[in-house]
């Protein structure tokens, strides 16, 4: 709980403290319920069985604790949200780490271009980007070749500068010039509304055509706790940026009523958390997924 309360209050007034009393209540519900059940059913059970039940209850309690701990990562300033420093081999080779700004790239390209076509993985430093590869037109070099974007020669410090806020100056510029819809957290940009309003027109592919599947089904995902309204998942808003295979079947199996994507798992960076912690709008905006939630 202490960690939750110490959660940083963002400039937009996204206060987690406001919610804290509700979360405390949820946690109490989760913790008390198994104990009550245990007491209820333990009367008729022989003593040996009682001993066996203790570890079971303990496990349930521990997991309930874990799942109720909403430990959101602290939010960076909006112009730095989604910025990463890539340092797989840079520093080992006497170079500064590469600053990469997601927001800057997604103004021009959809996620699928880099994370599908160009084979960038979804985890920092996991992709084997090499200078030779870049120069032969792979990874960054697919665009950064002097034709689509700036080339390698003479531009080392545009990427290898170790400065997370390298493109901050361009953010205000972008916000002033384009009339993108705003939102509370993350970059402060409602990227998905930006596409539907026509303010943003990111390119959907370089050479290999995208899947362009017209699949618009909205899913209703029941929340773990009865007092939380269900989450609505729009396929359409996601398909504008992504191909099917960015999420299926790795992140989400296509099972009809399969796995439950618990908040605890999402917080760990699994399921929705693969994107919605660090690049896509962060989970501070509860209402964007759980529209029925009170402010």
């Amino acid at each position: 709980m202490a960690r939750l309360l110490s959660r940083r209050v963002t400039a937009e007034g996204a206060t987690q403290n406001k919610y804290s009393s509700r979360y405390r209540w949820i946690r109490a519900e989760k913790a008390v319920l198994p104990i009550l059940l245990f007491l209820q059913f333990s009367r008729g059970i022989p003593s040996l069985m009682k001993h066996l039940l203790i570890p079971v209850v303990l496990v349930i309690l521990v997991t309930a604790e874990a799942s109720a701990n909403f430990n959101l990562p602290p939010l960076p300033p909006r112009e730095e949200f989604g910025n990463i420093l890539i340092d797989r081999t840079s520093e080992a080779n006497g170079q500064q780490p590469v600053n990469f700004s997601h927001w800057l790239h997604r103004t021009k390209f959809t996620c699928r271009v880099c994370h599908g076509e160009l084979d960038f993985l979804m985890k920092r430093n996991a992709t084997e980007i090499t200078e030779r590869g870049n120069r032969s037109g792979k990874f960054c070099g697919a665009c950064h070749n002097g034709k689509i974007a700036f080339r390698h020669n003479g531009n080392c410090d545009k990427c290898h500068n170790g400065d997370l806020g390298y493109s901050n100056k361009r953010f205000d510029d972008f916000m002033l010039k384009t009339s993108v819809p705003m939102t509370m957290a993350g970059n402060g940009v409602n990227w998905s509304a930006g596409i539907s309003s026509g303010a943003l027109k990111p390119q959907t592919y370089l050479k290999k055509k995208s899947q362009d599947m017209n699949f618009e089904k909205e899913l209703l995902l029941e929340a773990e706790m009865s007092i939380i309204p269900p989450a609505i998942f729009p396929h359409k808003a996601h398909a504008a940026w992504l191909d099917c295979d960015n999420c299926h079947p790795d992140l989400f199996n296509i099972k009809k009523k399969g796995t439950h994507f618990s908040m605890a798992e999402i917080m760990k960076g699994n399921y929705c958390g693969v994107c919605h912690l660090s690049v896509a709008f962060p989970m501070d905006e509860c209402k964007r997924c759980h529209p029925g939630m009170r402010e």
Partner: protein
């Protein structure tokens, strides 16, 4: 007390499994590595490195059917139990890799495995037995493999996913010419007429229907690769399968996702918008 301890451990174990499952993005296989199989039924036991088999090298010249039906390779790695003695007798790899056979008017193929060899032969061994122990490869060897792949793939029609090559199109427009008959191994039979293309409905509303083409598949597979093992194929609709089965490697997943284009390229099959 001991029993309680054991049971606690088991329960904790189950809890661990339940909480670790799913939701993580898998590492994507690189284009030059797609369809590569490590064969190690007897290699390590015999003191040589496992074989790294590259599907793309072979499928640019042969149909799937030749190896998986006529030669008799299993569709599952390490299931066949290939031995050096088999190769020497002219089975499995030795059916073509015998130092005599040549295809497309090229050099005779190098012979696979022999019981007598000297230092100079070592290079020949390493052509197949190239997979370093613990699944690692020397950097130079990897770069070399990539270079060989690139020189080939850059002249092929591009496609998303898999090898990044549209094999179907490459065959269709004659960029590659496939051998479907090996002297002394295959038997010539009059070809069967293909069934017309048909649609398979999608389970989820809004997902386009599949157009399945026998014609496109038989070029590579004949009938025998799929029927009757993978698909009994008596009558349409007898077998029920879902994407979950396919992703688990059943039905279409026997090839698609391993060697043929991956199933994550939805639009390649789900083409008929309803």
């Amino acid at each position: 007390m001991k029993r309680i301890f054991v049971i606690t451990i088991i329960i904790l174990g189950f809890a661990g499994i339940a909480f670790s499952a799913g939701g993580v993005k898998k590492k994507k296989v690189l284009e030059q590595d797609y369809g590569n199989v490590v064969l190690d039924t007897n290699s390590l036991k015999a003191g040589v490195n496992p074989v790294l088999f590259e599907h793309w090298v072979h499928r640019k010249a042969f149909t799937c059917r030749v190896c998986h039906v006529d030669v008799g390779f299993s569709m599952k790695a390490n299931e066949g139990g290939i031995r050096a003695a088999d190769n020497m007798k002219g089975y499995y790899c030795g059916a073509c890799h015998n130092g005599k056979s040549s295809f497309h008017g090229g050099e005779p193929l190098f012979a696979a495995c022999s019981d007598k060899f000297d230092k100079d032969d070592m290079k020949r061994c390493l052509r197949c037995h190239s997979q370093e122990k613990a699944g690692q490869e020397r950097e130079t060897r990897r770069e070399q493999r990539e270079k060989v792949f690139r020189t080939f793939a850059d002249n092929m029609p591009r496609e998303r996913g898999g090898n990044g090559i549209n094999w179907e199109l490459a065959e269709e427009n004659g960029t590659i010419k496939l051998i479907d008959y090996i002297e002394g191994l295959s038997t010539k039979r009059p070809p069967m007429t293909n069934q017309k293309d048909f649609t398979i409905g999608a389970k989820v509303e809004g997902v386009p229907e599949i157009i399945f083409s026998h014609k496109k598949h038989t070029v590579w597979n004949g009938c025998e690769v799929c029927h009757p093992d993978i698909f009994i194929g008596v009558k349409k609709g007898v077998e029920k399968y879902s994407m979950i089965d396919l992703f688990a490697g059943k039905y279409c997943g026997a090839c698609h996702g391993k060697v043929a284009f991956p199933q994550s390229d939805c639009r390649r099959c789900h083409t008929k918008q309803v």
